[in-house]
Symmetry: C2
Amino acid sequence: MTFVTEPVSVLTDEQLDTIHETAMRICEEIGLDVLHDGMRERLAAAGLTVDAERVRFDRGFVMEQVAKAPRTFDLRARNPERTVTVGGGTPLWLNVGGPPFASDVDGGRRSGTLDDHDRFIKLTQAAAPLNCVQTGAVEAQELDVAVRHMDMEYSTIRWSDLPYTTYGTSGPKARDGIAMAAIVHGGRDAIETSPALMGIVNSNSPLVWDFRMTDALVAWAEANQAIAVTPFLLSGATAPVSVSGGLAQQAAEALTGVAMAQLVRPGTPCVYGSFYTATDMRTGAPAFGTPESVLGLLAGGQISRRYGLPFRGGGGLASSNTVDAQAAAETTLMLTATMLAGADVVLHAAGWLEGGLTASFEKFALDVELLEQFGRQARGIGFTDEELAFDALKEVGPGGLYLASPHTMEHFKQWLYMSPLFTTPDFATWESMGSTDTRQRATERWKALLDSYEDPGIDDAVDEELRAYVEHRKQDPPEPED
Amino acid sequence: MTFVTEPVSVLTDEQLDTIHETAMRICEEIGLDVLHDGMRERLAAAGLTVDAERVRFDRGFVMEQVAKAPRTFDLRARNPERTVTVGGGTPLWLNVGGPPFASDVDGGRRSGTLDDHDRFIKLTQAAAPLNCVQTGAVEAQELDVAVRHMDMEYSTIRWSDLPYTTYGTSGPKARDGIAMAAIVHGGRDAIETSPALMGIVNSNSPLVWDFRMTDALVAWAEANQAIAVTPFLLSGATAPVSVSGGLAQQAAEALTGVAMAQLVRPGTPCVYGSFYTATDMRTGAPAFGTPESVLGLLAGGQISRRYGLPFRGGGGLASSNTVDAQAAAETTLMLTATMLAGADVVLHAAGWLEGGLTASFEKFALDVELLEQFGRQARGIGFTDEELAFDALKEVGPGGLYLASPHTMEHFKQWLYMSPLFTTPDFATWESMGSTDTRQRATERWKALLDSYEDPGIDDAVDEELRAYVEHRKQDPPEPED
């Protein structure tokens, strides 16, 4: 699925230069704290000035390293037909990831479980507009935090055959994900040739690379796995309250992250990430869909293109606590901006509710509906003679009706999109059916989607080896804080 | 309010040519039925082939006439500061028009009244993103259909000082509107110099100009008032089920309408109108926001630019029966497409629900919220030194927090949009406040907006003359069917 139009430009060339210049001044004059001894040693050895934990990133170094990252790369799926070239014109669309809570109309909002995780993975596999899985769709909170990353990683690998992002929120967890991907693809050499997972690295904004994330970045770069380097900017909280200031900070954080990955292993596939959101200063919570969030996202895409890197940004992000008009408006605003920004990687495209605290099954159905419609938009307008319909116009003639005309009967099922979720019963019929709103109908939709899920299967030997790896590692788990 | 980006192109130049060529073939080879004797006589006198009611519109004639319409024109408001140059970069944003029903959370859905009409006019006057009023916001159903157009016209003129569209759905009603505008602006000569109202002409699609609409078009053109010529296309019902076929039909209908207005009075301000919607073949109802509706709208804007005419299209259109996620998604999709299409005139921008059968007060509040956000987007990103925030970044430094920083405190109220309707309480707080959804909060919003309304006043003599005109005409009403 691509977009109905080319990416838009909201910055002039001069403004792009200004963002770049400010980002470089941040790197050089302010510097970033790198809380990882090994990485600081590498950076010092590369000639950068290191003062305690503060590293001044020389712009020549940064841009030289960034230039080593590929403009496009393949992200392998275990089903080779599902492999996607990131940055190649087909965006990656992924489910929500990270929420501690799950919710649906029947069961309400509760702590997430592995069963919820399995169901979100199956829904993602079943949803036509989604072509990539995000591990950690919802936290399997009933399991030990030190080891549950492997249960969720297994859930992703077992129940889908799509490319995926790995859970790794630390070096040891990242290494578990790499080991499991190596099992799936026939060994570490195989995945080093072509990446089999994508890791998400968030800087600890503002301007800090903490130990755990840097350690994960090192692990992925050593294995040549893809890395989406994503500053986590809440305007007015973890970033300045102005959009241009936030964009400069974002560039400084993203580019230094990419540079560190390249320093570990030149050519590591990297994505320029944007998670740019305004803060609602009344509550301190992120406010998705607001004008500043939209502008930050649009500009982020434009900046990533300047640097020649694939762009991760946007998603079906919403602040609302329920699947109501606010949730739909916020989501539609963000997904539209995601398209207009020309995003290559779209995490949280389906299921995100309550500012990311809840993975909602009904929201998943709503988002998939919107993605389906955007995909239809992107197909554009057909211009065959049959579509131009001159003969039909002539046959029906002035004052005629197309409702039952042969042309309409022959083509409407193919040419007219009729939403399974958005319906148009007349008011009296709608009332007689119980005046259901979209949230209630969405319950039927996600259940139908889950019913349509087909298990892609998995090679028995691979499955056994994966399970054995997880069992073995559970005997000797990483420290919870790792 | 303008848009965050330039209008997009969804058609190639070759496809534009194909639409044009097909439209011209429709005009010449199929022709249109013109059910107005006087107009057919004018067209025959201009050299067109007339066969009973069927008129073959020669392409040379059509394009020669269309070229006489101005690219931009002023639409006068009785408050000269509110006059807008149509096609000049500032779109007209108007309230909903036409619904027989009104609804709000307190009173439910019921037949519209003049009191409802007054309140929608006041809300439009009070809503910052709206800069033009549509008469007939809701039908004042308690009044005699033969004369209530004047009560609604008076409601528009009395309670707002914005430019407006007139009610006229027939020649006599159009002439009443012209007479009332002449009273407001000091005589017919004054309004003939610069139009004081805009009429909406819908062709009776497919390819019919009926008597009433043509008669209204003649009345407005004779008075040099603005005319939005808007084919009413429901794909698969009043138009072919294919988008490109519908676009060709739309061009044929719109251009012949513009040509007829120019034939009556060269230079009459005309707008190229699009009301292009897919039909939900399950119900026969219009389905707003669908991919075909969006594509038809986007292409319509592009086609109007080819012809050098201002574009009327889009709006806050939704099919949903209630202010839920479907309504918000449909509306956001349509409003986004409205912007991307580069619309100059946006009818039904606020308050449209249930496929246009209901004028909803809560929907009005939702739509105004969205328009406010689009307006903020369009302001773009600021690049003052204070906004680039290098000094603030340096002061806060790596690992700092912006929440209480001087830079944030000084600027957040100006730079961060905080929605009065879309809120972000944490889940527990939200539950304790009754788990209200957007629809309920929207009730507070429209009531607050109505409370903020300020009566612009009206000159006593003008008011008296308007009332006298209406009273006089009620003694001798036009026939209901006129």
